[in-house]
Amino acid sequence: MTNGGVWVALPLVCLTGGAFALYLVARLFRASNTLLSTLATVVFGAALVLLLPLFARSRAAALHGTALPVLASITPAGAFLRADPGALVLVAIALGIGGSTALYSGRYIAIDPRYATYYPLLLLMVAGMMGMVMTTDLFNFYMFCELMSIAAYVLVAFRRHTDTAIEAGFKYLIMGSVGTIIMLMGIAFIYRETGQLTLPLSGAELGPWQRAGSACFVVGLGLKSAIVPLHTWLPDAYGRAPSSISAVLASVISKSTLYMLPRIYLGLGMPAHDLGLMLIWLAFLNMTLGNALALMQTNTKRLLAYSSIAQTGYIMFSLGIGLRYDVPDAIQAAFFLLLTHAVMKATAFLSKGVCHFYLGTTTVEELRGTAVQLPLVAVTFSLALGGLAGVPPLAGFVSKWFILAQALHPAEPLAYVGLIIFLLNSLLALGYYLPLIARLFTAPQSGDGRPPARVAVSPWMAAPLIVTAALIIAIGVSPGLWLTGVNWMAVFWQDM
């Protein structure tokens, strides 16, 4: 109990227990949406508070080179959960964004009839993600990944009175299940050959089944992370889900699988260089296709979804550079963008949700004149979009700076080519970010010639927006603290 034990599981227990308790409260006492929203926020906050001492201890262990806190599983071999400081950083971000979303939903979901299931599912989704990044055991990884995914499928189809939501949720379900089943097959392959499930695998030789299993993981996790050409579920899912859910999905859920991809691949004993090369080439596809398709979108949420695919490409590019050319700083740069992208994309989706909630806007064209009616949202939205476009001094610029600097570092032709493709893509991206910002601030086309009145934004929605938007500036101006966190996220690479 000194190092680890049940304490490691406390944040996870808090989330899952909270989910069941919340559902009971909702059903037994017919609790209102605002009460459930408050409770869910409290659960997220409590999990975050429980996470802090765990992080402190795991960080101390990592610094002193002693064993990380673990919760042992029933099988003697492996650990059920392991408090790895890097994973905890990602979890902390997920809890923060989950909490903001829960608060935001206090008003946003109030118009939906089935809010009793919304909050438990949101909690379970984040719990699944948390377990997924903390576990070291492949089978538990699969279980948590399924927990996260199933909650996500239901939440995407949450507004089931619209056909499109059902369709998007179903598409997500089919493709996501294919991904998890492929991973399950991979686990079987690996178990058949090595008889182990705990990462990192011990044993010298790489057998054919082990290679096949690793390939299964690349496909499965690639599908979950929307790596082109396995991205087709994403625009529908993000575009049709409630904005609050899109915010969580885009910022942490599908990025956590991307974080796990190199961890699992390297944990299986596969060579980092091959994965790096593959990620670099796929990154070009992701960036270019994501940006080119985003340019054609007229629906704001689909546009943001395609921009996520492009941003995934940027992360993959830097990750690929790091793995291919042994540049640890490039891996840090990738995870730094992962964190900043989470904050920026969450802000963008939440801002979009407010526009939809009050003004009923769905297309880019309808956003015209938002600055007059919802000045706060216009500001937060443009901060998010400016950040995604890499305008200094916002968070996105710092991440871009690090990635570009690291891409120059190895002095390899492929990295130079990648740098040029990266730059061309960030230009291409301006082609949709800027008109979007411009629409927000141009005068609305009003029928009767009078300017539309200002709409008061509910504090439930305003508070999370202000916090995340402030973070975009804060990370951009003083990235020191975040870099430390990212440093921990990249540490796994050195263990393997």
Partner: protein, 490 residues
């Protein structure tokens, strides 16, 4: 923290803080917003001028803090002799533009944002000249783009402002990204983003990479200067922008490109390393000079004529830099300052014209000299100024640039630029002649002009004459500023 540090912070802080306040109380301030903005910009200008004694006593005002220690990124501000001419020009132009804006800008509940963005645009420019590390440099460099694009987008003239803003943003952002790659290559070579480390020279670049970095800097900064093949953003942006913004774009922002070229390739690479680029730069300058002048002759919109004149004038500067001689580089630096004054004057005159007549096609104007004599006088002085008439300032700088051209040894190019300058005389005189002399077209009425607009215009005209008569202080500043570059053997 001594006085110099405080001055450095005031130069940036006063307008920045005021901008925040103006944005917060935009609806309530009304007309006062413009006055407050002018006062804060005046404070900034005074603080910039107050740095002079320190520079004369060879103190180097410098503010240095660690920012992201793990990545070797610092937060450094400085002011040296190279900074000062650009800093003062930029702050003065911003002040003039704000005061001119009192009359130009129609006051409504968004006026606070208008002046706040003008101030931020100014902060972007002064920050660019004062930044002493790469990240800060790039942040301010992009800040001026963001602020000016917002101004054009929201307060621009005409229906095309959205597409024009997009074109402006993307075009100049491409330039910024090219500069960024150059900066990153240096960052990768030195492991720190501080300019001090760059200047110390304890780092090496592979020859191929070095050539690439120089080319990147020259192309990237040329976009901001709007020299011939990369000038395409300028005419549209200048035409659509509201007049105070046009003044700031033409008179101050274009010069940031020159500053970049002086600060980066010229300061950190040796003349021998730069030598291969001399002739390309000079040729680019001549082409830009002649092309801009011809386009100015071909244009019919008064604002576009003056806009193309900027392309032409930037050609002179590029030529002067390309000579890489003492006279040429000093002349180019002086030309930045003189061009700022003349171009501000000409755009102010155009703004008055458009305000008074509500017309902007040159065929619809004419014979206005009798109706608005003071404006006509300003226009004539401005046109003579840009044509290089002695004793107005541009004569001095063009003299230096031409002299640099001859002493560089490329006599053919020097003669070409000399003859190219004839075209400037043609369009300048043609412009004044068509508008203020000759017959007045039917139905041309002259409205009343706001007094503040006329007074600022006249003040700039007087400044132009004074600068031309007393060029010595500016010469000394420029020579001091370029000492490190010129000392390198130029």
């Amino acid at each position: 923290m001594n006085l110099n540090d405080i001055l450095l912070l005031v130069i940036l802080g006063a307008p920045l803080l005021t901008a925040v306040l103006l944005a917060l109380w935009s609806a309530r301030l009304g007309r006062a917003a413009g006055w407050i903005a002018a006062v804060s910009e005046a404070i900034s200008l005074t603080a910039a001028l107050a740095l002079l004694p320190a520079l004369y006593y060879n103190q180097a005002p410098m503010l240095s803090m660690a920012w992201i220690p793990t990545a070797g990124i610092e937060f450094n501000l400085q002011a040296d002799w190279l900074t000062l001419p650009f800093l003062v020009t930029e702050a003065a132009v911003t002040l003039v533009a704000i005061i001119y804006g009192w009359g130009y800008h129609h006051v409504d509940e968004r006026s606070g944002y208008f002046y706040a963005l003008l101030l931020i645009f100014g902060v972007g420019m002064s920050g660019t000249t004062m930044a002493d590390d790469m990240v800060l440099f790039y942040i301010f460099w992009e800040l001026m783009l963001v602020a000016s694009a917002a101004l054009i987008l929201i307060w621009g003239d005409g229906e095309r402002r959205g597409p024009v803003t997009l074109k402006y943003f993307i075009f100049t952002h491409v330039g910024s990204l090219i500069v960024l790659v150059g900066l990153l290559a240096l960052y990768d070579a030195t492991g720190s983003d501080a300019f001090a480390v760059l200047r110390a020279g304890q780092w090496t670049l592979a020859p191929g990479v070095m050539t690439m970095v120089i080319v990147l800097f020259l192309i990237g900064f040329s976009v901001k200067m709007a020299v011939f093949p990369v000038h395409l953003w300028l005419p549209d942006a200048h035409t659509v922008a509201p007049m105070p913004v046009t003044i700031m774009l033409a008179a101050a922002m274009l010069s940031m490109g020159t500053y970049g070229i002086l600060r980066f390739p010229f300061s950190i690479f040796t003349p021998a390393q730069m030598a291969p680029f001399a002739v390309p730069m000079m040729v680019m300058g001549i082409v830009s000079e002649i092309y801009g002048a011809l386009m100015a002759l071909a244009e019919r919109d008064v604002k576009r004529i003056i806009a193309y004149s900027s392309v032409s004038q930037m050609g002179y500067i590029m030529f002067g830099l390309g000579t890489m001689t003492h006279d040429g580089v000093v002349g180019a630096t002086l030309h930045v300052i003189y061009h700022a004054i003349v171009k501000a004057l000409l755009f102010m005159v155009v703004g008055l014209l458009i305000r008074a007549t509500d017309r902007r096609r040159i065929g619809e104007l004419g014979g206005l000299g009798g109706r608005m004599p003071l404006v006509a006088l300003c226009a004539v002085i401005g046109a003579l100024g840009i044509a290089g008439m002695p004793p107005l300032g541009i004569f001095n700088s063009e003299w230096m640039i031409f002299s640099g051209g001859f002493s560089s040894g490329h006599i053919g190019l020097a003669v070409a630029t000399l003859f190219g300058s004839l075209l400037t005389v043609v369009y300048a005189l043609w412009f004044v002649g068509r508008i203020f002399f000759g017959a007045r077209p039917e139905g041309l009425t002259v409205g009343k002009l706001p007094r503040t607009m006329v007074i600022t215009t006249v003040a700039v005209m007087i400044l132009l004459i004074i600068e031309g008569l007393l060029p010595a202080p500016l010469f000394i500043w420029a020579e001091h500023g370029l000492a490190s570059i010129l000392g390198g053997g130029l």
